[in-house]
Symmetry: C2
Subunit: 224 residues, 2 copies
DNA sequence: TATTTTTGTTACTTTCTGGTAACTTTAATT
DNA sequence: AATTAAAGTTACCAGAAAGTAACAAAAATA
């Protein structure tokens, strides 16, 4: 009995849990080593199983990659949702959304952002993900535009602003190590506070999150 | 005679030019499709040659990847140099350095950032690149600290700030398309002005670069 | 306890791609 | 023009990794 079975719910549920575990682990490895650089043997090893076992839960590697991206987009949509709902000003909506997005992403159960290599996904599945990603960016841009209108964000090109934010957020997966001194929430709060300060019509004169003062952000020597 | 020979200098120079062309093209493909996702046949095809021809100029794929990273780090070092030399305040040094870095990177002859996949590089060469990258980040952090001391940058965690900047900068390679309405310099100026505004002790009340006002940043539908 | 179903393994095939060897073409030199 | 060296090509080899088939172990059911 491999180590992925913790609790013991009924059969179908068990299957679902295992599939989710595979996806999470695969996402981690894919986003670190790239889709082509990661082997299914790697994924299987990490789960204490052999490769053919995976094929009971996933059609093939392509399907697995697709599932990873879907998971990631689900997180993104959820984050946008909460931002749009909870924030009062446009700027606040953006902040809440991005903070949720990031902390979910790098948190314990999150699917670390998959930096999509061109041609890794193909066919209908590729189109599906590209469409979802476009929709995500468009919605986020909408929040920025809202902020420009309500005066919380200074006049700027929303596309550029969104790209800037997404860049600094996605890059976190390259340096953040969960086993360091800072929790996923610490890092998320601090990074978003800093990054969104560039958009603010009236930027604060000091930064609040404690991580800004305390010195060492846990960084990872070795590959970025 | 393949299409990479434009001018006709002497023999050794010719060789060098071809090697550089290979590195540039490889960097482009590596950073789009990932090191493992890119084949040497792809690189060769783009240059109008067959794979074995490459081996006259490069020892092997690993060596080629290493060369790409060295090129990228050269650009980084040069950018830091000019920033440190030309800027008066710490904030200005950071701005100049990052703008130069980015525009060189995405410009015509630049080597687009290689987002290093873990384990893509190995052995001594990996160590070499990691060391150079660490040195680069440390130096950049130094400029930020300078800014904090001279009051141009508000008190913050320099590591976090640098990671934020590098993220938004490196991400540009995911969305910028050179054949759009905006030049590499346009994008670089605008993005850095925006991103570094988050660090500024006294952020400007409006953005200067024209791209901030004009609407559509050329973005690329399809893979990010 | 015997039977059946589920889950996973070992052993294999196939494809793709990095790398090499032997040959051909092009161009410089005498 | 003949000779020699450089630059590329075609044809191949070897290894790695995706995916499959046939079997074994475990667990549920009877």
């Amino acid at each position: 009995m491999p180590r992925w079975a913790n609790a013991v719910p009924n059969r179908a549920e068990q299957q679902d849990l295992k599939r989710k575990a595979i996806i999470r682990e695969a996402a981690r490895i894919f986003s670190r080593r790239g889709c082509h650089g990661a082997t299914l043997d790697d994924v299987a090893d990490r789960l204490g199983v052999t490769k053919p076992a995976l094929y009971r839960y996933v059609r093939n590697k392509h399907d697995l990659l697709f599932a990873c991206h879907e998971e990631a987009m689900d997180i993104g949509d959820k984050a946008l949702e909460s931002g749009a709902a909870q924030g009062t000003t446009g700027l606040q909506k953006v902040r809440i959304a991005m903070t949720a997005y990031l902390s979910e992403m790098i948190g314990e159960l999150g699917v670390p952002v998959l930096i999509l290599e061109e041609n890794a996904l193909q066919g209908v599945e590729a189109e599906t993900i590209y469409a979802r990603r476009d929709a995500f960016e468009t919605r986020l841009r909408g929040l920025v535009e809202l902020g420009v209108q309500d005066g919380s964000i200074l006049p700027l090109n929303p596309k550029l602003a969104v790209f800037m934010l997404l860049g600094s957020v996605h890059w976190v997966t390259k340096w953040y190590k969960p086993d360091g001194a800072w929790s996923a929430d610490d890092v998320s709060d601090a990074l978003i506070e800093l990054a969104t300060r560039s958009l603010a019509a009236n930027p604060a004169h000091e930064l609040s999150a404690s991580i800004h003062i305390a010195a060492p952000v846990p960084l990872k020597p070795g590959p970025n």
